[in-house]
């Protein structure tokens, strides 16, 4: 295998190769520098941040800023730290990702294996939802949440994210299942399995790669969302992103940059973790279905 892939690679001289690596390393550094700044400054006492060199390694190492950001920093009017909002985000993200992924899988299953009249139109309409800008639906959605009694609550946010995610998850699963042989479904029907049994026993067990894609996509989008969180959540359901904004914008006293840096890293941590753990499946899953076999 390795021999074959070497043969297909473009052969280049040592100088060209060195240049390529140099450029790549520079790009990597360029993107890593901001993260380095955040990390090193979050580990310094405030005085060192405001008085010293932004690029320097901490002289006094301390995790006080992290502890403050997590549990005691001023968020709006309450000195609670980011902790309660972190749990708000978890309580919002986990059900929203799970529900939108399961529904997307069911949609994909129906749209490919239980075709009905105008199914392509239904799919087209679902896809269309991917292209609706968030801002347009803010006011109608606020009204809908009000009518349903979900305004300012975590279930309300879950609903909004599920509705917005369905287009993408349906697209993923539909395209994945389109390459799944229909004869298997027919064989299972003859074997006596019903609609949900076929889904559960035949389709889902082979849906690993695309489920990972769907989960990463949904998790990242929902966790990082600011607009819906700022618009539809109240203080008890406010997600991490909104709380971080409030932390940075709290106007009492001095700006604690080291705490802000620590808070920002805390807010970004879960998506980073998801990518590190499942990233390679992400690339694999995105490619799956594009080439047969």
């Amino acid at each position: 295998m390795s021999v074959a892939s070497q043969d297909t690679a473009v052969r280049t001289g040592g100088f060209v190769r060195a240049t390529i690596y140099l450029v790549l390393v520079m790009f990597a550094l360029f993107y890593l520098v901001p993260f380095y700044v955040m990390l090193s400054n979050s580990l310094k006492p405030l005085a060192e941040v405001t008085g010293g060199n932004m690029m320097a390694i901490p002289e006094t190492w301390t995790i006080d800023a992290w502890l403050a950001a997590w549990s005691s920093a001023q968020i709006g009017v309450e000195p609670t730290g980011l902790k309660p909002y972190f749990w708000n985000s978890i309580l919002m993200v986990v059900p929203a990702v799970a529900i939108s992924t399961i529904l997307g899988a069911l949609n994909g299953y129906v749209l490919t294996k239980w075709r009905f009249r105008f199914d392509n139109i239904v799919f087209g309409l679902l896809l269309f939802s991917c292209f609706i800008p968030f801002q347009i639906i803010l006011i109608p959605m606020a009204r809908m949440l009000g009518i349903m009694g979900l305004a300012g609550s975590t279930p309300g946010l879950v609903l909004v994210h599920v509705v917005y995610g369905l287009g993408f998850t349906t697209l993923y699963f539909r395209n994945y299942y389109a390459a799944f042989p229909t004869e298997l479904v027919r064989a299972a029907q003859i074997d006596g399995a019903g609609f949900f049994r076929i889904f559960w026993r035949i389709m889902l067990p082979v849906s690993g790669p695309i489920a990972v894609v769907s989960i990463i996509w949904q998790f990242t989008n929902i966790w990082n969302d600011f607009l819906f969180g700022a618009s539809f959540a109240d203080v008890d359901s406010m997600p991490m992103t909104v709380a971080l904004n409030n932390l940075v914008n709290s106007s009492t006293g001095v700006k604690e940059y080291n705490v802000h840096f620590a808070g920002a890293i805390l807010a970004a941590m879960p998506t980073l973790l998801v990518y590190i753990v499942a990233g390679r499946y992400f690339v694999r899953g995105l490619m799956a279905g594009s080439v047969k076999g």
Partner: protein, 370 residues
């Protein structure tokens, strides 16, 4: 009333009718093959028997029970698919017993049935593997095992051998035939391969354009094809079809054809055939093996006609030698003994067994019955 009755069944998608009034009655233990070129409706008909496609009109009954609208799993049928359709996430054993599990058969009974089927098909050693780890022939066996274990009223096969290589296909064909002789279960088998149809079946339905062109035993289909389509589709090389003119002389009818030099020659038909076709054009059908050299002619033939003609090409094929010539402007193939003494371009005395000759109406292309 047969065991499996297909009565007046049609299938339409919107306004397009793809199957027209199919009537087939299958007796218990029969091996019925539906054969035809792709798009002839044979797979659609099979799917309708299975319950995977709805019946537009007409009735299908299995074992005395009308199954229109009955769910596939309640028709007591089992199906083997072209792609085998093995569940990729389950082991061979789980694949075989999935149907029983869905029907609520207890685990002990399932394992017993699985063991029986596995030893019958010699796949005992594969039970813990996944389908991805099997060769084509092994997958084929597992697919058959999954069908067998249900102990169904009717087996449905949808081109089960077309994904195998040539040698394996012949082996599995023999094995399916053995299995049928042993189990004596009713089988409906779809294929586009006329050899499979002739070798496996007890009866064949030749289909084309959504019509059953002819339903009969392999012998009937081969010797007395209902029309030109059946004649040319069944048999390899195909039956030779040559335009000819009927000349009546007393009780005997003659087919007047042109040899490769443009000279008219006459071949006598068996007595009392084609009396009312005097002077009219027909299509004369002769199987390649009915044209031989004089010594190679069938000893039991009652009416061997001789015809001197120029040899075109000779193609030795091991067991036979194929010889082409031109008759009435058409290429005609003869199948002769391997050691026949014949050379291209020579003038040769062909012996034609007119017992096996058939005549078709050139307008309707239907066979003219004696």
């Amino acid at each position: 009333m047969g065991f499996l009755d297909i009565a007046n069944v049609t299938k339409a998608y919107g306004n397009t009718e793809v199957l027209h009034r199919v009537d087939i009655s299958v007796q218990e233990g029969e091996f019925l093959v539906l054969v035809g070129p792709s798009g002839c409706g044979k797979s659609t008909l099979l799917n309708m028997i299975a319950g995977l496609e709805e019946i537009t009109s007409g009735e299908i009954s299995i074992n005395g029970r009308v199954v229109n609208g009955v769910h596939p799993s309640r028709r007591n049928i089992a199906m083997v698919f072209q792609s085998y359709a093995l569940y990729p996430n389950m082991t061979v054993g789980q694949n075989i017993t999935f149907g029983l599990e869905m029907h609520g058969v207890p685990k002990a009974e399932r394992d017993k049935a699985m063991a029986d089927v596995a030893s019958l098909l010699q796949i005992d050693h594969l039970l813990d593997r996944k389908p991805g780890q099997l060769s084509g022939g092994q997958r084929q066996r597992v697919a058959m095992g999954r069908a067998l274990v249900r102990n169904p009223d009717v087996f449905l096969f949808d081109e089960p051998l077309s994904n195998l290589d040539a040698k394996l296909r012949v082996d599995m064909r023999t094995e399916i035939k053995k299995l049928h002789q042993k189990l004596k279960t009713t089988v409906v088998y779809v294929t586009h391969d006329q050899i499979e149809a002739l070798t496996l079946s007890t009866r064949i339905a030749v289909m084309y354009n959504g019509y059953v062109q002819q339903l009969g035993t392999p012998q009937e289909i081969y010797d007395t094809p209902a029309n030109v389509f059946v004649a040319t589709f069944m048999g390899s090389p195909a039956m030779n079809i040559v335009p000819a003119k009927v000349v009546i002389n007393g009780d005997d009818a003659y087919a007047e054809i042109e040899d490769s030099n443009g000279a008219k020659q006459q071949l006598k038909f068996n007595t009392n055939y084609l009396q009312e076709w005097n002077g009219k054009e027909i299509l004369l059908g002769i199987r390649p093996e009915a044209i031989t050299d004089s010594e190679g002619a069938d000893r039991n033939a009652t009416n061997v006609q001789h015809l001197t003609n120029t040899v075109g090409v000779t193609e030795p094929a091991g067991s036979d030698t194929f010889v082409t010539m031109t008759l009435s402007g058409k290429d005609v193939i003869a199948r002769m003994r391997a050691d026949v003494n014949i050379a291209p371009e020579q003038s040769f005395d062909f012996a034609i067994n007119m017992d096996k000759a058939v005549a078709f109406d050139p307008q309707s292309e239907e066979r003219i019955k004696p």
